[in-house]
Subunit: 471 residues, 2 copies
């Protein structure tokens, strides 16, 4: 029986099940972390600063595409906010970033029917797109749902505006799976349109919400085909255009964009930390990206992630604990269109220190549920043992996975990557659009994200992680 219980207990520990439920003693770490969790919750929920920080970012800075005046103001906001929060060694690390500007003009309309009235569509340029000539492009429209369908069309695509109208699949439980299934037409639509002989790409906004707000995002060009302009159309607009095409397949659409790419511009990552008391050279990076698309206020994407990290460290300081290992908040610049900040951070020489983990928050300010865990099974097993620490806040969903884009250059060097798991059922309603504003973030949900980041990074700073083989 004794060996049976031991096996059961090991199995349960591997799965993060609270051993107390079986009558075993709680482990010393869980015992010690209980009161700290309690103080984090009280400090955060009763006196938290996360929503106030985000309010300042959204209302005094607003959106902040890399290289823009907004991004420069965001860097100043992050530095000021970290200093105000009492972080150690607040500093900027310079990085050159791409500079794409939307310009004044982005319109689309189609002319169909006998009287050929001009019907406007709600569109916006995709990030990185070339502009049109000043009068715009006027052409017939070819609607497709996939690249396969486009390739099968052959000659009929030539000279046309290719309208990629594959919807976000609402039938999937995980909105990121739906996003993954639809975002390819945004990222590669211009390449595929040009390859087929098309003159522009018009892409259904990658969202499950039906409204008249277009959602921007990154797109690419390829060296072997011409660069054609690319824009997103709102989901309501996409449906309207699709209906109009059924009635009049020869209708003509005019697309005008004045966006352009300027030379790279100087910008910065912003860093601040709590220096570890025992192993200051072992660093846990926590962070999100400071840049946003040039729509809305970048409240969820990724103002929330920035605030999660700064507030996490402020909370730890406020309750008077100092981690054994260093926890560093990094506000990465340029996640949205180049990831130069993430690349620069990972490439920098940092004598005397070793990154032991990189924890990202880039899924918005929704209710937190746990963490996506990279670094392999040994790390997942170690983290799962912390389950009892996180269960009272319903933060104990630890899943194999890893970090987001900002920390990918670090994880490529062998640093285990992590990402906070938050509820994302609403996320793509807002993402990359004018819908992404402060009013869509709930103060308690945001603060609970910061509490989760504080508890997770602090637990890691105390307990460490198993060594991971570098690739």
């Amino acid at each position: 029986l004794k060996s049976g219980l031991k096996i059961a207990s090991v199995a349960l520990a591997l799965l993060g099940v609270n051993a107390r439920l079986l009558g075993a003693d709680p482990d010393p770490l869980a015992k010690r972390m209980g009161p700290i969790r309690g103080r984090l919750v009280r400090e955060g929920l009763a006196k938290g600063q996360a929503f106030a920080m985000l309010t300042e970012l959204c209302t005094t800075v607003g959106h902040r595409l890399s290289g823009s005046p907004g991004a420069a103001k965001a860097v100043a906001w992050a530095e000021r906010t970290m200093k105000r929060a009492g972080l150690d060694r607040v500093r900027l690390e310079p990085v050159m970033v791409p500079r794409w500007v939307r310009g004044e003009t982005e319109t689309a309309s189609y002319q169909s029917g006998a009287a050929k009235p001009d019907t406007p569509l709600s569109i916006c340029a995709l990030g990185g797109s070339v502009g049109t000539s000043s009068g715009g492009i006027t052409a017939e429209v070819l609607e497709v749902r996939s690249f396969e369908e486009l390739r099968a069309v052959g000659e009929r695509a030539k000279g046309k505006i290719i309208f990629f109208n594959r919807p976000f699949d609402p039938g999937l439980f995980d909105p990121f799976a739906a996003y993954g299934g639809a975002v390819g037409q945004r990222g590669s639509g211009a390449i595929e349109a040009a390859r087929a002989g098309g003159v522009a790409a018009l892409v259904r906004s990658v969202t499950g919400r039906l409204d008249d707000v277009p959602h921007t995002g990154s797109m690419s060009y390829a060296g072997d085909v011409p660069k054609v302009p690319a824009a997103a159309v709102s989901t309501v607009g996409a449906n309207r255009l699709s209906e109009a095409l059924k009635a009049d397949p020869r209708l003509r659409l005019t697309l005008a964009l004045s966006c352009e790419t300027l030379p790279d511009a100087p910008s910065s990552n912003v860093l601040g930390e709590l220096v570890g008391s025992e192993m200051p050279g072992e660093v846990i990076v926590i962070g999100g990206h400071l840049d946003s698309w040039d729509k809305g206020q970048g409240a969820h994407d990724d103002g929330a992630g920035c605030v999660h990290a700064i507030e996490a460290l402020r909370l730890l300081k406020a309750i008077g604990v100092r981690p054994k290992r260093t926890i560093r908040a990094v506000m990465f610049m340029n996640e949205e269109n180049g990831n130069r900040g993430g690349i620069a951070y990972a490439a920098a020489a940092r004598p005397g220190e070793r990154a032991i983990a990189a924890i990202e928050s880039d899924r918005g300010g929704g209710m937190p549920h746990g963490f996506s865990v990279g670094g392999g099974p040994a790390v997942l097993s170690a983290v799962s043992k912390w389950g009892p620490i996180f269960e009272p806040l319903q933060l104990d969903r630890f899943r194999a996975g890893g970090g987001g884009t900002d920390v990918a250059p670090l994880t490529a060097k062998g640093v285990p990557g992590f990402e906070i798991i938050v509820d994302t059922q609403r996320y793509f309603d807002y993402h990359h659009s004018d819908n992404d504003v402060l009013g869509e973030v709930h103060p308690r949900e945001l603060e609970l994200g910061a509490i989760a980041m504080a508890l997770f990074s602090y637990t890691m700073a105390e307990d460490g992680l198993p060594a991971v083989k570098r690739p």
Copy 2:
């Protein structure tokens, strides 16, 4: 080793851990339920009707306090919606309900300072309160935070309006715990005020949100003290009044309410079901309450719960399964101020049938996470074995607990009670106020609640529950 593994496996099963993670075979029920879960998700998220149903209830009926014309329209809505959803044996069960009406007048203002300008406060009568005389009550105000504080005041309370200003504790993770800590002054404030010699009770709205919207709710009188009028003041108003009292403790407040209690009125519970294919006499009740307070649209409280139940049965029908046991949706009337519907449902003779479970949804339309489980450890253990069925939808939080108010008369008779666990961080922002409107409900979160109710009730209908001793 073999016996060790067996013990581990039993321990894990008891805790609802997915045995597949250990390499064991999934149990046959989980295997069979997997595809059913998949079809429920796809039908619900891609073609669900929950939000459309709630839209009709909120916009064509609106709020619906027991005995009001709105409540009568809600009964008709429920009957029509159940029939449209294809439920079996849709019917009304009559019940007499209390009839309290708010009337035209509910105002409060205070006069202080040299010029004695009249400063209005945003208030509303508490449900069940008596009105004031037509000119209102004008008196000095005594602010207290607790009944203990009021009792300690002694003679000073006489002739005053007692202002109960204990705030909702924002530092608690569970908003229902904060609600529980503050709602007593609403429920018993009028009794305690009268006992202390006060002339009225003015209660800080029971919400953590700071805004100018008062939140109503039920209150009681006692036989041995006079009935004094009772109203809720918005949190912003409560703070303003508290500040004003610091500056001028003798300020005078005028409260005017025209609410009154009329004779009991006829109303109905509304029932509809999927008749069980093998054990039709074993009935699983699922439901919420059809009545609401006479503020906002009763969208979260408890339109969401009504729609969860009806849509759950529509989903099961749409994917073409019929449960072995009967699953009955019950729209209970009068949860908010009397629970006459819940009492009547439990009291009715139902020859040839036996209720085996009662599953309530009365915590709003937020993201579902699992179920609160009554009936004791054997039931919790049986339900926890279903964990692998619910884990892919993150619905596997099964906690000891039980059902809500509507099903309490059933659970008092020994029927195991259950309640869906949803995220409630936003719930009390809306609860019992003009903030509780359709726009605060997210279509996917609402539909996922219906999917959760369908999956849980269907699994129970297939697998049954262990016998529970009647009290």
